[in-house]
Amino acid sequence: MQQNIIVSGVGGQGILSIAAVIDLAALHCGLTIHQTEVHGMSQRGGAVQSHLRISDAEIHSGLITEGTADIILSVEPLEALRYLHFLSPGGRIVTATETVVNMAGYPPFELIEAELLRTGSPVLVDAAALAREAGSTKTSNMVMLGATAPFLAIDQEHLESGIMELFGPKGEKIVAMNIDAFRKGLAFSQQSIQQTVL
């Protein structure tokens, strides 16, 4: 088993927390992990991404080769498209639909949506709304992790214990809110998969 995942978004959206939860979960499953992060300049509202590779065998390179990503998990729709050339032919995009417009020339959402739909069956999530229901828009990242969970090679239980471990130091309330956000994302995704099957 080997899975290549690109996690993307805008600096400040909690990309590293998503990666950290998957890392912890994979570690508990006894899998090998390699994960790159972006620090520095770009974290100031720029494009940030993380390459995540999990496998039951040795992983040599931390970087994902173009055309071989199984999943692009994005917290911002244009940022999902930024890494499109990494997506494998059968790969899937799971992205939040809320845009972050902090630069000139941001394309209209309809264009972005059309590009996303060209990739087969992307899962488009109104993460902000689900996060608000969970108690804070800050949990959008965990909504998106939940929405991606059905496609990950790690089960829900391990992902949730990853969330508990990561947010544990911040107190029970924060943990509960993030678990709730995760489950809302998961339920949405499962529902939308069923709909495409029907």
């Binding site: 992060e37 390179s61 970087l63």
Partner: protein, 537 residues
């Protein structure tokens, strides 16, 4: 064995802790910052009472590490690649004096310039200083190699340069830790014949350093776990330096290439292993994450046609390597490149909403509009983002401290007004000496210190001096009291701030304007910490 998920930078830190260091000396800089931060947060550091606070710059950091070594203890120095330019004088000369307690200098290079002004290759400095250079390829290797580097340093009595690059420093993988060694006892000996680098001592010490070179090469050979051959039977070979080893192995596996790979993680290059690779293979691809240092060496003047690499276009001359680039250079049939999206636009970084630098630039821009010459010299930090739209407020950013000195030189040339903007941490790093030059020459200069009470760009580390201490420093350096002004960069103070800037720019002498407002990120972090503390009580 418990596996810890560590960034490469953190693996170096863990290695140094377990090697029994008594202190880390560093100045922040991407991608090296997390080395020191990991140590600062570690229970070991607190328990052992180690030195972990930030130094004013890389030179003071390395010199302090050398001093700790003089006193017999082990010290880690950490910095980014351009930081070694600042520390170079101390570093090169420490190879001449040699060390007592082990000294490892961890330098993080940034090929592709993700967060830097250039992509210089620190291995050059290692060659220049003629000390061992270690360049591991994985997190586990980084951890183990750091411990070995301290052994190497103590047995050779030389500083060891440990080089890592962005992708390794900032990627996470599982690391198992060994047991911790105890620190060295305090043990300072008089050795002026080594440490007083007057010519007669320096010449003898230099001879000694030259005499060690054969040993260094021998140590890179047989006994180093960092250098080894993964033999194949085909005519193609790869000399894989540092992290390039990962890409070579990934390409070998993915594209089923029958290649011999010589993994290199310790320099000087082990000659017999390289000869073995050339004996096995008709063509050798030299892969270096950085400058083609060894490719150039191996090609020599007469350009060995069996060598491929960055210099003949087999690999790009600049930037990071990748599995795809290596595979292509090795003749693998790559699948057609996946289609990107044509509608994607760049998303450059920006100053945070609510950042005080924004209000400073707003005021400065309005004031500068009144002059034919709008030139504003500046420097490195979050405020460098003032060069981008919508502000376009600053027009230079070269190396830390250059804001003041370049503005001074331009003023000497007759440019009026001569205005510069420098951050608090950049000022204490390298701006103070330049300000002294300006004081001594009575240069007509307006120095704006954008004091946000922190080293923001690299994640909010403590600055060496902020607030009223900056006032005291400027005063102490000789800036006239009446020409040190303080403004609060807030929207509602715009008119006032513009008036102050106008007055000081109009003044035909040296002024300092301290623009002081705390970084909003740091302020928020403090608040969160205070909140979680009271929640836990």
């Amino acid at each position: 064995m418990k596996k810890h998920l560590l960034l490469g930078a953190e693996a170096v830190a863990a290695g140094a802790l377990d090697a029994g260091i008594s202190g880390v000396y560093a100045y922040p800089g991407t991608p090296s910052t997390e080395i020191t931060e990991y140590i600062q947060k570690s229970p070991e550091a607190a328990g052992r009472g180690m030195h972990t606070t930030w130094s004013a710059n890389e030179k003071t950091a390395f010199e302090a590490a050398l001093g700790m070594s003089y006193a017999g203890k082990r010290a880690l120095a950490a910095m980014k690649h351009v930081g070694l330019n600042v520390a170079a004088d101390a570093f090169i000369n420490s190879a001449i004096t040699g060390v007592n307690g082990g000294v490892v200098l961890a330098v993080a290079d940034d090929p592709s310039m993700h967060s830097s002004q250039n992509e210089q290759d620190s291995r050059f400095y290692g060659r220049f200083a003629m000390v061992p250079v270690i360049e591991p390829a994985s997190q586990q290797e980084l951890y183990e190699a750091t411990i070995r580097a301290f052994d190497l340093s103590e047995s050779l009595q030389l500083p060891v340069l440990l080089r890592l690059t962005t992708r390794l420093a900032h990627s996470r993988a599982g690391v198992t830790r060994a047991t911790t060694r105890s620190e060295n006892p305090l043990h300072a000996e008089y050795a002026p014949e080594r440490f007083v680098l007057m010519p007669q001592n320096a010449r003898r010490q230099y001879e000694g350093l030259l005499g060690k070179q054969k040993t260094l090469e021998r140590l890179s050979g047989g006994s180093s776990p960092l250098n080894r051959m993964i033999p194949g039977t085909g005519p193609l070979g790869v000399l894989a330096c540092g992290i390039a080893f990962n890409y070579a192995m990934e390409a070998k596996k993915t594209f089923d290439l029958d290649i011999s790979v010589l993994k290199i993680g310790q320099y000087p290059l082990p000659r017999h292993l390289v000869e073995d690779l050339f004996a096995r293979c008709e063509t050798v691809l030299v892969t270096e994450e950085g400058y083609p240092i060894h490719e150039e060496l191996l090609r020599g003047w007469f350009d060995d046609k069996n060598i491929r690499g960055r210099l003949d276009g087999a690999l790009p001359r600049t930037g990071e390597l990748s599995t795809g680039l290596l595979a292509e250079a090795l003749g693998a049939k790559l699948p057609a490149p996946a289609q990107g999206s044509g509608i994607v636009v760049n998303r450059p970084p920006e100053l945070c909403r609510g950042c005080g630098h924004r209000d400073l630039f707003e005021a400065l821009n309005r004031v500068m509009e009144g002059f034919d010459n709008h030139h504003v010299f500046s420097d490195i930090g979050c405020y460098t983002l003032g060069a981008l739209p919508p502000y376009h407020a600053i027009h230079t950013c070269v190396d830390m401290g250059a804001a003041i000195t370049m503005a001074k030189g331009a003023a000497d040339a007759g440019l009026r007004p001569a205005v510069c903007v420098i951050g608090d941490s950049t000022f204490t790093h390298s701006g103070m000496t330049g300000l002294l030059d300006a004081v001594n020459d009575r240069s007509p200069l307006t120095v704006i210190i954008a004091d946000n009470d922190t080293t923001a760009m690299t994640g909010g580390q403590d600055s060496a001096a902020t607030g009223s201490r900056l006032y005291d420093i400027c005063r102490g350096l000789g800036v006239e009291e009446s020409r040190i002004r303080t403004i609060l960069p807030l929207k509602q103070h715009l008119e006032e701030n513009m008036a102050v800037l106008r007055q000081e720019i109009a003044y035909d002498g040296l002024s300092v304007v301290l623009a002081q407002r705390e970084c909003i990120e740091t302020a928020a972090r403090k608040k969160r910490r205070a909140g979680s503390k009271s929640a836990n009580q």
